[in-house]
């Protein structure tokens, strides 16, 4: 029995151990690595950034807003939470009006947690002026609310998570329906934009973006091509890309430019102590992801070499 054949017999718990080491080591020994941005992420960044008030404009007067829909529970949080943090950071840094909403009871605390985590770094940001948490609405109301917001958001949502009438909040000034709340970002582990594409986009022409777990990412390309999805953040990598875009452009109040992204100066975030951990969590995670992907590829190769050797031997023995 040669080494490859013996490796075939290995107890899977040894494989589990290798996986654990491959993930833990790159996380506790940080190193810088380059984040390459992709088109679906860049598109989202640019449309969200276009909602920012101009230098002479009062943020409260702005007639554009973004809705973040949290359609996931804790199980997919490692992939989706860093995206939500990065987009909220973008909104708060650029005074973009942002709303949050969920139809899942288990997503409500995640929503609070995301807002509070980012708000700590932006003391000027106030609920009702810069953002509103619409809160948790029961699942049966999903379609009525999606359709209702096409006519009047304040009426469809009625009260926010703090029990205030939406129509009484200053942020709602100049925001009536999907004409103003022009982008819906749905973060989900199961239905990228699903009902939002079918109802809000088909009936009212709203723009829909998706923050998806990587499992679903490949399935969304037909919708990206038709424009039914304006853009997409795919898994931890999508989050890492957005983290970088926010740092390079939004925080420095610069226009998007691909040239600037090539500058290696912007790829030292991981070891930069000035950037809080929560804002580079996805990029740190991508280091472990690198090691893990190589590990999986090596596993596939070793497994296949063993398989072909066994097959060859069987053939020879007739």
């Amino acid at each position: 029995m040669n080494i490859f054949e013996r490796l075939q017999m290995l107890d899977r718990r040894w494989i589990f151990l290798v996986v654990a080491v491959a993930i833990i080591v790159p996380l506790i020994i940080p190193f810088n690595s380059k984040t390459y941005t992709t088109e679906p992420t860049e598109k989202l960044y640019r449309i969200i950034d276009s909602f920012a008030p101009g230098p002479d404009e009062k943020p409260i007067e702005k007639d554009r807003a973004l809705l973040l829909v949290f359609t996931h529970d804790a199980s997919t949080m490692p992939e989706l939470f860093p995206m939500e943090i990065a987009i909220l950071r973008h909104c708060f840094a650029r005074n973009i009006k942002v709303f949050t909403l969920t139809f899942l009871p288990s997503a409500a605390p995640i929503m609070d947690y995301a807002i509070n985590t980012v708000k700590e770094e932006f003391p000027h940001v106030k609920s009702g002026e810069h953002y509103v948490n619409f809160g948790y609405k029961i699942g049966a109301l999903m379609l009525p609310i999606i359709l209702g917001m096409g006519e009047d958001i304040s009426e469809a949502v009625d009260i926010d998570a703090e029990g205030r009438k939406l129509s009484s909040l200053p942020i709602m000034k100049n925001i009536k329906n999907y004409n103003e709340m022009n982008l819906i970002m749905d973060f989900s582990g199961s239905s990228a934009g699903g009902a939002w594409i079918v109802y809000a986009r088909s009936k009212f022409g709203a723009n829909v973006g998706a923050g998806v777990t990587a499992v679903m990412a490949a399935d969304e390309y037909p919708y990206l091509q038709t424009g039914q999805l304006t853009g997409m953040l795919a898994g931890l990598k999508g989050a890492a890309e957005y983290e970088k875009l926010v740092e390079v452009f939004a925080l420095k109040k610069r226009e998007f430019s691909r040239e600037l992204l090539k500058d290696p100066e912007y790829d030292n975030a991981i070891t930069n102590p000035d950037i809080p951990y929560k804002f580079k969590q996805a990029r740190i995670g991508m280091n472990a992801q690198s090691v893990a992907h190589i590990m999986i590829i090596v596993f596939i190769l070793i497994g296949n070499i063993g398989y072909f050797i066994t097959k060859y031997k069987e053939k020879q023995q007739g």
Binding site: I15, F16, Y36, T76, A140, E151, D219, Y221, I300
Partner: protein
Amino acid sequence: MKRSIPLAIVITLGFLFVGYVFIPHKISTDFYEWYMEWIKAMSPFGVVLGIMSIVMTHSARIQHKVPNWQYSIVTLIAMFFTAYAGFAWGTQEGTPFMWLFKNVQMPMGATMFALLAFYIASASYKAFRARSAEATVLLLAAIIVMLGQVPVGVSMFGEGINDITHWILNVPNLASKRGIALGVGLGMVATSLRILLGIERTYLGGGE
């Protein structure tokens, strides 16, 4: 009678909703607002169903002393205590209710799915074999996409790996997913039509 009245409700409401999509008249929006108010008033009772199901399943397990029945006590106590915490001390940030959710429910929910990483690694070692030309293509596409997602892929193979990944996702992958999506889309429309026309009735359950 027990089936035909609910069926008539579905068909009538169904066609009114078809009208709502196409006719932007006050009557259709009035209908819609009426429906919304009513469906909202019905919505909380659906949750009762789920809770009843859990209570019945686990009490039956305890009653019949099936293997590992003791754990069902854990489920029931946890359920009642969490609900009690919500009613007694509120559901806001900083309450025992939220504490339970954040430190008990969330970490366990996330870890359940994290286990899959170990199993996919073990499967890639023991099960993913290039047994045929088709399987080889599948594995190659997978390996390229995996490399294209991570920074180390570019360090090893240059930026070309990003371009190839981009091409795979936007050309053959797009075509394949579109073919499948069209099939699924037509299936969804057909199922909705069957419900609307009263041909599909399984959602009404068994019995007369």
